[in-house]
């Protein structure tokens, strides 16, 4: 190893040591004990499965016919649920989050995809596998988008036009297209937003060929102070493909770049794309906001992420757009999308881990009261993209044990049904587009 590399490694070791020793004091005992108890419970549960099946067969059957383990239960109001956000009136969003990490609780509606009753097709555009549905008709798309990602008012799509016979070798194809794992020469300045694509090359030991892996879309938004919010969305299955990354505003392509990728088949990769959209012009106006996660169409409510009390933890707050005064805040839920007329907002879980992470809630936009909590029974996988079909129903793509479907849930009753037949998807995507925000079908054809 040459001298420059020795310098590099020396500096690397020094920084590793410094960073590892610079972590703040922590007290993990309580959290460890809690998780250990959960592991014990899970093991005991496994040990008693036979007995549980015998005892529970009748009531479970009844419930599963209705599609819910929790069917008939009225969703818990905020003050009765351990994971309910607590409305806080007229207090700064960054200093009032005191509620705890949400946990799986008995009030959540646990979806069992294979048992849900069949309902009507979605009335909004969606993409499932290789078929695009515009709400009225379905069209098979040969060169379907590989994945799409909403980014402010833009929708970016990555799609491939080839999957097959290109041979690969060490030198076949660029390894870091679209700027590579870094965003190349694009240095975001204040109020800039950029999107880039990266891959993580790896080596196949059978033929020593190096191939792209872990393709990822990145977005970065920088506020006027230089503070940046980064979001990533990774996906897989790049197999001998010419990949195009295109940005759309409506039907207009605002940016397009193309590159060749070669990789061995990875047929079981799944991906779900969703993350809050940052609007620097908005979030920098609210003290304590790190990013805006949603704004309602009436321009009355705006939600954003704020810092939590713990290191790296996040809370959220919904503010009145006109006065910028907070209406409520939560350290349990991060609003993602307001309903079409604005009275409700669906939210992703915050500061959770493990199974607790796979949960959505619908909240009252004015008060933060929890009206519906969704989770998926029987890991693995869970809830994907979600959107309101109208103010009373939420559509969510569900991936459960290899079956995909879009599910419709009534917010007030908690009753759910499949809006598309459960099917096994090995390629393509599963997305529901917010009403009015979907790119039109011709853009993909």
């Amino acid at each position: 190893m040459n001298t420059p590399d020795n310098d590099l490694l020396a500096r690397l070791r020094t920084d590793f040591q410094h960073e590892a020793e610079s972590v703040p004091e922590v007290d993990l005992a309580a959290g460890v004990a809690s998780r250990a108890r959960r592991i014990h419970r899970q093991r005991r549960l496994v040990g008693s499965v036979v007995a549980a099946v015998v005892v529970a067969v009748v009531p479970v059957s009844v419930l599963e016919v209705r599609g819910l383990t929790d069917a008939g239960r009225t969703p818990a109001p905020a003050d009765q649920s351990t994971n309910a956000p607590r409305p806080t009136d007229s207090t700064p969003p960054a200093t009032t989050q005191t509620d705890t990490t949400p946990r799986l609780d008995e009030h959540a509606v646990q979806l069992r995809l294979a048992q849900l009753p069949e309902g009507e097709a979605p009335t909004i555009p969606y993409l499932l596998g290789k078929k695009w549905y515009d709400g009225e008709t379905s069209v098979g798309i040969a060169d379907h988008p590989f994945t799409t990602i909403p980014f402010g008012e833009h929708v970016f799509a990555v799609y491939t036009n080839h999957d097959g016979e290109q041979s690969y070798s060490v030198d076949d194809g660029p390894q870091q297209a679209f700027g590579g794992a870094w965003y190349g020469d694009a240095t975001p300045g204040p109020n800039d937003s950029i999107l880039w694509f990266s891959t993580d090359a790896y080596e196949n030991t059978s033929d020593n060929a190096t191939r792209p892996d872990n393709p990822t879309l990145h977005t970065l938004t920088v506020d006027s102070t230089g503070s940046a919010q980064e979001a990533t969305a990774s996906f897989g299955d790049l197999d001998d493909a010419v990949v195009t990354l295109a940005g759309f505003v409506g039907d207009d392509v605002i940016a397009s770049v193309e590159s060749t990728y070669t990789a061995p088949p990875r047929s079981r990769e799944r991906f779900v794309i969703r993350f809050p959209v940052s609007d620097p012009s908005a979030f920098e106006r609210v003290d304590g906001f790190l990013a805006v996660t949603a704004v309602d169409r009436q321009g009355q409510h705006m939600s954003g992420l704020t810092r939590g009390n713990g290191s790296g933890s996040r809370c959220s707050s919904v503010v009145d757009v006109d006065t910028l005064q907070p209406r409520w805040s939560s350290c349990s839920w991060a609003p993602v999308e307001f309903s079409p007329d604005g009275p409700k907002v669906y939210a992703d879980v915050l500061n959770a881990s493990g199974p607790d992470k796979h949960r959505y809630a619908v909240l009252d936009a004015d008060t933060g009261e929890v009206q519906l909590v969704l989770s998926v029974a029987n890991e693995p996988f869970g809830l994907g993209y979600a959107t309101f079909e109208d103010d009373e129903t939420l559509l969510v793509s569900v991936d459960q044990r290899g079956l995909n479907a879009i599910v419709r849930c009534a917010i007030t009753t908690g009753e759910c049904e499949t809006a598309t037949p459960p099917e096994r998807l090995t390629t393509g995507d599963d997305l529901v587009f917010e009403t009015g925000a979907a790119p039109s079908k011709p853009a993909y054809e």
């Binding site: 690397l12 920084d15 080596e203 940046a228």
Partner: protein, 187 residues
């Protein structure tokens, strides 16, 4: 490592995990109290995220706790916990559900003007932006001082992958390091 655990071995015997317990036993508590910060530091290098690091360590310690009798008897608590941390971290970046979102307060490419005047953190700022697997390889090779074979075993990959990931990670760092940073001329 054995010295850190010697006190643990002589502590009172744990009850069997299947027995109902409402608090952690004392020798495990001692271990957690003594090692949690170092473990979080290690996990932070792997994740580049304080919250995720604490999460990883909590999970690893919880898993260690339920097997504490066996681990303690073998005197391998530290190695066992670190192994779980590495495995859990690798699982996170492999799992689809880890992919959906991540937010951070820091721009990926922090300017030199923002650097710590002592020089600490410049290289780490670049390491944080490496893909997770490349970062893990660097941490295991140059912080944990594992061999390529040990690193490959820890990450569940081939030695060739460790070599290529190390090479690519160092190449990325060389590209980003400029003479102006004072880290060295890589030409």
């Amino acid at each position: 490592m054995s010295g850190e655990l010697s006190g643990v071995r002589h502590a009172s015997r744990l009850s069997h995990p299947s027995e109902k317990r409402t608090s952690m036993t004392s020798d495990f508590e001692e271990y957690v109290a003594a090692r949690q910060r170092a473990l979080v530091g290690f996990a932070y290098l792997l994740t580049a995220d304080h919250h995720a690091a604490e999460d990883l360590v909590q999970t690893a310690l919880a898993k260690a706790y339920v097997r504490w009798d066996k681990i303690r008897e073998r005197g391998s608590a530290e190695a066992y916990v670190r192994k779980i941390i590495v495995n859990e971290n690798a699982s996170m970046w492999r799992r689809a559900w880890r992919r959906k979102e991540r937010t951070t307060d820091e721009p990926p490419d922090r300017g030199i003007d923002d650097a710590d005047p002592t020089g600490h953190g410049e290289m780490w700022g670049y390491v944080k932006q490496l893909p997770p697997r490349q970062r893990a390889v660097l941490v295991l090779r140059f912080y944990e001082d594992l061999t390529e074979a040990q690193t490959a075993e820890s990450l569940g990959c081939s030695i060739g992958t460790v070599k290529s990931q190390t090479s690519k990670a160092l190449a990325s760092l060389r590209q980003r390091v400029t003479p102006a940073t004072g880290i060295g001329d890589m030409s």
